[in-house]
């Protein structure tokens, strides 16, 4: 039986052989230094365009957060009788206040959540509810958050979030909080009270 002929580069080699005998001028060989400069300039342009795009996305996120805040944040915070509050100190999380169950309404803390941009790319959530923060994170990373313990939904946090960070890094950040255990299952983020 005749074996199948092996495939080779013969046609391509013939084409290359014809081109190899031509001068640079005949084939329009570009100036290598100019091409290198052109490539680097193009790359620089695309990098600055990408930064601009990120800026627009962050402004959108900020606008959505402010709207969310107006609808739910302030009124809910004022009505709360038990709460947690946690503070974010530069790179590590620390719990500063814990549960108060029978609090006198007159002693309730009224939160004034706000959002700020830190530098070009970092979003600072100040006194934001965890579920409001997670809404933004869900939308940005295309995931869905599920709370196994409803009590952690309303934790108010001070959190720095860089949307350029990979999701896993954001989860590590959240897991720095003592009262949270966050993990991922496919497209779902699960938040527990450990």
């Amino acid at each position: 039986m005749k074996m199948k002929q092996p495939e080779d580069n013969m046609e391509l080699e013939v084409m290359r052989a014809f081109v190899s005998q031509k001068s640079d001028q005949e084939i329009g060989m570009p100036d290598v230094e100019q091409e290198l400069s052109r490539l680097k300039a193009r790359r620089k342009d695309s990098a600055s365009a990408s930064e601009q795009h990120t800026g627009i996305s962050l402004r959108k996120i900020a606008a959505i957060l402010v709207a969310t805040l107006l609808l739910t944040g302030l009124s809910y915070a004022a009505m709360r009788t038990s709460f947690f509050t946690q503070a974010w100190d530069e790179d590590k999380a620390q719990v500063t206040d814990v549960t108060t169950t029978d609090a006198d309404p007159s002693e309730s803390i009224v939160y004034t959540p706000e959002i700020k941009m830190v530098g070009d790319s970092v979003v600072l959530f100040k006194d934001f509810r965890l579920d409001s923060i997670m809404m933004q994170i869900d939308q940005h990373y295309q995931v869905t958050t599920r709370f196994t313990d409803e009590s952690v939904r309303g934790i108010h946090m001070l959190l720095k979030w860089n949307p350029k960070q990979p999701l896993d890094e954001v989860l590590n950040l959240l897991n720095g909080f003592e009262r949270l255990k966050v993990y991922r299952e496919k497209d779902e983020l699960i938040i527990e009270n450990p």
Binding site: M10, E35, L36, L39
Partner: protein
């Protein structure tokens, strides 16, 4: 042959520039031999280097052979795209598509191939090869220019490739 960076090591600007300067002419010639168009060839080669800048952590050492394979594949993709736009180049595409191996011949071998074409093939076959492989004309166009049938063009090319394979591809001869 240069191998400028290793597994998971990011290439420095200096290394990238060296790789670019040393490899560009050869890569451009390869692209031009397949595309026969200066702008397309520039775009293909620049695209390969842009990929290197965008994905600096590549799984293998980057050498000239790797870049040649990247240019080869990009040029093939462009030809496939062009096929939709221009059916007349389908014959050329068919010829190029059979070149699937990423191992590309070095310059010495190309000189040998050229010498073989010039010394061992008939003048008419040489003319057919020049029209179809150098000037990138379709079989139909070559047939019209030489005043012969498309079948005759096909026969010249088949015979020429068979002789070239017998001379340059030892596996071909063994398997026949």
């Amino acid at each position: 042959m240069i191998a400028l960076f290793r597994h998971k090591r990011q290439m420095t600007d200096e290394e990238f520039d060296t790789l670019f300067r040393q490899s560009y002419p050869k890569l451009y010639r390869l692209a031009f031999s397949m595309l026969n168009d200066q702008e397309d060839s520039r775009d293909v080669v620049s695209g390969v280097f842009a990929d290197l800048l965008d994905k600096p952590h590549l799984p293998a050492p980057i050498n000239e052979g790797y870049l040649m394979a990247m240019v080869h594949n990009r040029a093939l993709n462009l030809l496939k795209h062009r096929r939709v736009e221009n059916e007349a180049r389908a014959d050329m595409l068919h010829a190029v598509q059979s070149a699937t191996s990423p191992c590309l011949a070095d310059d010495d071998r190309l000189v040998e191939v050229l010498t073989f074409i010039e010394t061992q093939l008939t003048p008419q076959t040489r003319r057919v090869l020049t029209l179809c492989f150098d000037e990138k004309k379709t079989y139909q166009q070559a047939a019209s220019e030489l005043g012969v049938s498309v079948q005759a063009i096909n026969k010249h090319i088949s015979q020429a490739l068979r002789k070239l394979r017998e001379r340059f591809n030892p596996l071909y001869k063994r398997n026949r």
